[in-house]
């Protein structure tokens, strides 16, 4: 059990060299505003727990700065004397940064104790400044409205229930962890995104290379086809050319042979021609020709001799003109018949006369003709004799001629033969020439064709060569691209590996989640353990200080608070401020009891401002009954008055 005995403010806030003695029971520090209650309150707290400069963000308005002595700020110190478990102690501290020090001496035996080694902590049962604030030191709920009030109370209670220490803001901590976790997750995502970007870049390159590869493969296939096509064409041309060449060779061989034969033949013909020229067959022929020419004039060969005629009998001669006779007869008859009788005999006579005239004429002419004929015949016979003689001569000549003719014919034949041969030769020569010309032309044509074919072949060969070169080039490129492609794939698989930064952020995220979960779990446990006990104890206090108006304080697992009356359950939001303050007070007292038993003085800093008279009465009464030392800081006389009226003794400074 601990009780504060004396406060000596060497230099603290507005106080300098001030002593305050405190007795047991209820002690009231009364003073107007600006008296320095808060200063004293802070002094007590500072003595017990020291005043740390806040670090970082908190240092500007921290307690240290706030209570730095107005005068002589470098000298910031004080002494507190207290008794604990029957022993008296003297605690001294210097707060300023230049001579920061502390000492704890047991006054009974002069033993010097060590704060560094935790002797004070031990005496204080390891109470910290924050638990001090949350339990034995009771201020006010610094809020304006009822709603906020209840909310604050709930928060407070919730924290208490959930954490066993209203100082801890569970929800705040959970929010903090969650936001950090989100940040870690975001960092992980960013790393992953960067990795994905790098991968995408390599993938894209890979795709480009792949595309190039595909195109090259297509090109290669095309070229293969071209090569094959051209190669087969080339082969075709080659065979053609070979065939042509073979033919050429054959023809040439034949021609040569023919040539050779011709040459041979020519030799013989020439010889023959030579021979011909030496014989005079030609000259003789000419003479014979002349001769013959003369005689060859065709004398008019007499007509083939008519057989000589002898004199004909008369009746034959007349008879020959039977036609005339007939006609005369007819005419006479006709005349006889036709002409009337006297004259018919004249007519007939006339006709007969005419007929006889004509007949005679005809016979005479026949006879004259006969005579003529005979003379002519004789002439002719003579002529014939002459002619026959001539004929004989002619025949002789004829025979001669024939002989010459024969010779000439022979010569002619020979000449003809020669000529023919010559002609034939000429013809042959012409033919040969023609043939040669044709052959030459054909050869030329063939050469040209061959040349064309060869050039075509060459062209095809060139093309094939070029295609081969192209194909090689493409294959080289293909290989290069394939190597590049597989290298890129390797690179890609290396990128798949998880980076260290990612793992770090991942671990951080996991740690944060773990912390969150653990906090939630533990707080549930606390609600379980601590909450019930707190419920009970706080209920006892409430029942007492509300004079059984409210019998129980109840907090459920969702940290909703209810006050139970004898009839019903009222949610905390619905009660008055005064009640809320009482609940707040009850909670504090209950917590203090749970944590520290009845060991410590209760310090009330302007706690009862919003209490009405009745509440004040009941609370003060409870305090006097339950607490060994109560230090009240107030700027009112109410408390003192009430205590007086209750008959409770107190001390005041």
């Amino acid at each position: 059990m601990m009780q504060i005995r004396e406060l000596y403010l060497k230099n603290f806030g507005k106080f300098s060299d001030r002593t305050f003695l405190i007795r047991g029971g209820i002690h009231i520090f009364y003073g107007e505003n600006e008296f320095g209650k808060s200063t004293l309150y802070t002094f007590i707290k500072g003595m017990l727990f020291g005043i740390e400069r806040g670090r970082g963000r908190a240092s500007r308005n921290d307690t240290f700065s706030q209570y730095e002595p107005w005068e002589n700020p470098n000298y910031y110190a004080g002494v507190m004397r207290f008794c604990c478990d029957g022993k008296n102690f003297r605690l001294e501290r210097s707060f300023d940064k230049y001579s920061k020090s502390s000492s704890l001496i047991c006054e009974d035996d002069g033993e010097e104790l060590s704060l560094e080694q935790g002797d004070l902590d031990m005496l204080l049962q390891n109470m910290t400044a924050s638990t001090f604030e949350n339990t034995i030191a009771v201020g006010q709920l610094c809020v304006e409205t009822n709603q906020e009030l209840s909310k604050e109370l709930k928060n407070y209670a919730a924290n208490y229930y959930a954490t066993g220490n209203s100082d801890i803001n569970l929800q705040g901590a959970l929010d903090h962890l969650q936001s950090k976790r989100k940040a870690a997750d975001a960092a992980m995502k960013q790393v992953a995104q960067e990795k994905a970007r790098a991968r995408a870049k390599v993938e894209q390159e890979k795709n480009y290379v792949h595309r190039d590869l595909e195109k090259l493969k297509r090109d290669e296939a095309e070229i293969e086809l071209e090569i094959r096509k051209n190669a087969s064409l080339a082969r075709q041309l080659e065979t053609e050319i070979q065939a042509m060449e073979a033919e050429e060779r054959k023809r040439r061989a034949e021609e040569e042979r023919a040539e050779r034969e011709r040459v041979e033949a020519e030799c013989t013909k020439e010889e023959y021609m030579e021979k011909e020229r030496t014989t005079d067959g030609c000259v003789e022929e000419e003479c014979a020709e002349e001769e013959y020419a003369e005689f060859a004039k065709p004398t008019e060969s007499p007509k083939p001799a008519e057989s000589a005629k002898s004199t004909e009998p008369l009746w034959k001669a007349v008879g020959r003109h039977y036609v005339t006779i007939i006609i005369a007869l007819v005419a006479a008859v006709a005349a006889l018949l036709a002409v009337p009788k006297p004259w018919n005999y004249l007519g007939a006579l006339g006709a007969a006369v005419i007929a006889i005239a004509v007949l005679s004429f005809q016979v005479l002419s026949d006879r004259s003709r006969e005579v003529q004929e005979q003379t002519a015949l004789r002439e002719r016979e003579e002529q014939e004799r002459a002619w026959k003689e001539q004929e004989r001569a002619r025949e002789e000549l004829e025979r001669e001629r024939e002989r010459l003719e024969r010779e000439r014919a022979v010569a002619e034949a020979e000449a003809r033969a020669a000529r023919e041969t010559a002609e034939r030769e000429a013809k042959l020569a012409r033919e040969a020439a023609e043939a040669a010309r044709l052959a030459a032309a054909r050869e030329l044509e063939q050469t040209r064709q061959a040349a064309r074919r060869r050039s075509a072949l060459q062209e095809k060969k060139n093309r094939v060569d070029k295609l081969h070169w192209e194909s090689n080039r493409i294959q080289a490129e293909l290989q290069e691209k394939q190597v590049m492609y597989s290298n890129l794939e390797e690179q890609l698989s290396e990128l798949d590996e998880v980076s260290e930064e990612y793992m770090q952020q991942n671990r951080k995220s996991q740690a944060l989640l773990l912390a969150e979960q653990e906090l939630t779990t533990i707080s549930k446990e606390i609600v379980g353990e601590f909450g019930n006990v707190l419920n009970d104890k706080a209920s006892a206090v409430i029942a007492a200080i509300t004079e059984e108006k409210y019998t129980k304080l109840y907090i459920d697992e969702k940290l909703n608070m209810f006050l139970l009356t004898q009839e019903k359950r009222i949610p905390i939001e619905q009660v008055s401020r005064g009640t809320i303050e009482q609940v707040y007070f009850a909670l504090r007292m209950a917590a203090a009891e749970i944590l520290y038993g009845e060991e410590f003085p209760v310090i009330l800093d302007d706690t009862f401002v919003f209490y009405d008279e009745n509440r004040l009465k009941t609370t003060l009464k409870w305090l006097s009954e339950h607490k060994k030392q109560v230090i009240i800081f107030t700027c009112q006389k109410r408390e003192a008055d009430m205590l007086s009226r209750l008959g409770i003794s107190y001390s005041m400074n």
Partner: protein, 349 residues
Amino acid sequence: MKFIHIADVHLGAAPEAGKSYSETRGQELWDSLGRVIDRCEDEQTDLLLIAGDMFHRQPLLRELKEANFLFSKLSHTKVVFIVGNHDYLKADSYYRTFTWNENVYPLLDRRLDCVEFPELDTAVFGFSYDAREITEPLYDDVTAPREHGVEILLAHGGDEKHIPLNKEKLKNSGFDYIALGHIHKPQILLPDKAMFAGALEPLDKNDTGMHGIVAGTFTDTEMSLEFIPTAMREYIHLQVMVDESMTSGALKARVKAEIESHGTGNIYKVILRGFRDPDILFDLDSMDAYGNIIEMADETKPAYDYEKLMEQNADNLLGKFIAKFMGSDEDSVEYQALYEGVQALLEER
């Protein structure tokens, strides 16, 4: 006979090097190789041995051409190299078809091959990787034939997935020197016998320490080896101790000063240790004054006296919460949760 032994150049890689240097770091790898070439030329070194991983991935044709160009600048030095697990010989690798300059002798076979230099009375043995991982200890049965004055083994491996090495067997293999690659930190495996040249330039933030080349000389009687640091930059793990009085700004100045004293051209991983004011939040993002910090790890602990807090709050949420997590491993999630929860509760009072 003078030789220079390098390994793990990893051309084509783009190592992380902080905002200031990341873009050019890839080119710096090439420049470093270029400087090695220049040194070989200046000193008329006889042999340049590259123990694998010259390229970080399958080399492109143009990359091989660039490397070949560098080698072609050498008038006297012969270059011998093997292929490691990073640039291993895939079926369609350009290594298989590329024609190197006449002074370059790649040992690209999967089985042990050798190239002899009668004018130096030296032979170099080695084989190349044809797969990403080789778990058999292929170097255990390799022995030197002892037909030349100097016999060097060019090897790449040293961990369980990449040809584990047996020190004893290597020691008794009979080679005068074993030029090793794969481990990026230069180190001696067997004194005066086997060394990892280490990566020519450090590539990863944990490749701390010096990096460079191994220069060796064989005379008739002895061999001498020397590690020469040639790397442009180092990765440095910088530990900065923090105390409760340090604010974010103070820390920033401190980090900057430390970086200046260790070299602003280097690349840093900064680790903060110590106890910090629980109210202060270090703004890690703004501390990269020179753009050369690639990682900043905050391992400081808030200056909460958990025990005291727990005692004082034994009966309430705070105390119980602390009790729940007290004794957690300092690296655990629980410990971090403890800090976060306590901070949340105390801050939101």
